[in-house]
């Protein structure tokens, strides 16, 4: 369970968007949920690391004219990926339990 924050966000986007998770949809999902737009380069770098770890697997889609005839690459979370995602989220939940926050303006 060695996931960076971006890897965690990308992995959860892949899980949420299945079976239509590809670069643009992952970027948009992270932007909607996390409030910032990761660059395409950082998303693909994270996906490459996740694929190397065996947490996602990719399949090629059909080429389309608006993509200059280039294919989409769809990503799906594997069983070890699901486990890593669940463990990471559980760790965050566990860490955040019992935290006391300062009141605004206090």
């Amino acid at each position: 369970m060695d996931l960076s924050m971006l890897e965690l966000q990308v992995l959860s986007a892949c899980k949420y968007l299945h079976p239509t998770a590809y670069g643009v949809s992952i970027q948009e999902h992270v932007e909607r949920r996390a409030g910032y737009e990761p660059s395409s380069g950082s998303v693909y770098a994270a996906l490459e690391r996740l694929e190397r770890k065996g947490y996602v697997k990719s399949r090629r889609g059909e080429p389309t004219p608006e993509r200059g005839g280039r294919r989409k690459l769809y990503f799906a979370v594997t069983a070890p990926g699901e486990e890593a995602l669940r463990d990471s989220l559980e760790a965050i939940r566990s860490l955040s339990r019992g935290l006391r926050w300062n009141e605004a303006g206090a």
């Binding site: 490459e48 294919r71 690459l73």
Partner: protein
């Protein structure tokens, strides 16, 4: 006065957004009729032409201009409507600035490189529709520049890893 001699065909460039969302219903047919007539006689019914553009702009909610272009129209953005005989509309996807290839080169994994460049293209086309080609090109360059460092770092990481493996092999066996 009736125009005589060779009819000079004119090519009009319709921004994609105007064509797809503005020229709807019978407006597209009316525009085709006007242009067909112009191609036949060499005289453009400017009044009807402008009226249709105004109606199409009203459909869109904002004014959009139509440019008249010469033979290089196919290299420009939007839809090219060039029709003397029938309403043959060629969807034309504008090309993004030529930076994408560098990104593809930076990603050693060629499958991911193709997908990444395709994503950038797709976002560029979407931006062209929403903001026009000039702003879309600026956004595209921004996206490419923001992508370079993470890709470069990843490539360097790969090279360092392979370098370390080669060094270890050399130490052990050579």
């Amino acid at each position: 006065m009736i125009a005589t001699g060779k009819v000079k065909r004119r090519t009009f460039l319709f921004p994609k957004v105007l064509f797809e969302e503005g020229l709807t219903g019978d407006l597209r047919q009316r525009m085709a009729d006007v242009l067909r007539e112009e191609a036949r006689t060499g005289i453009l019914n400017e009044r009807e032409f402008q009226k249709i553009i105004a109606l199409a702009s009203a459909n869109l909610g904002h004014a959009v201009g139509v440019e008249e272009r010469g033979a290089d129209a196919a290299e420009l953005d939007g839809y090219v409507l060039d029709l003397p005989e029938n309403i043959e509309i060629t969807p034309f996807f504008p090309s993004p600035p030529a930076l994408a290839e560098y990104i593809a080169i930076l990603t050693a994994n060629s499958e991911q490189g193709e997908a990444l460049v395709g994503d950038l293209d797709e976002q560029f086309q979407e931006d062209c529709k929403r903001f026009g080609p000039a702003r879309a090109a600026r956004r595209y360059r921004g996206r490419v520049l923001r992508s370079i460092w993470p890709l470069l770092r990843s490539s360097i990481g790969r090279m360092v890893k392979w370098g370390a493996i080669l060094a270890a092999v050399k130490r052990l066996f050579l």
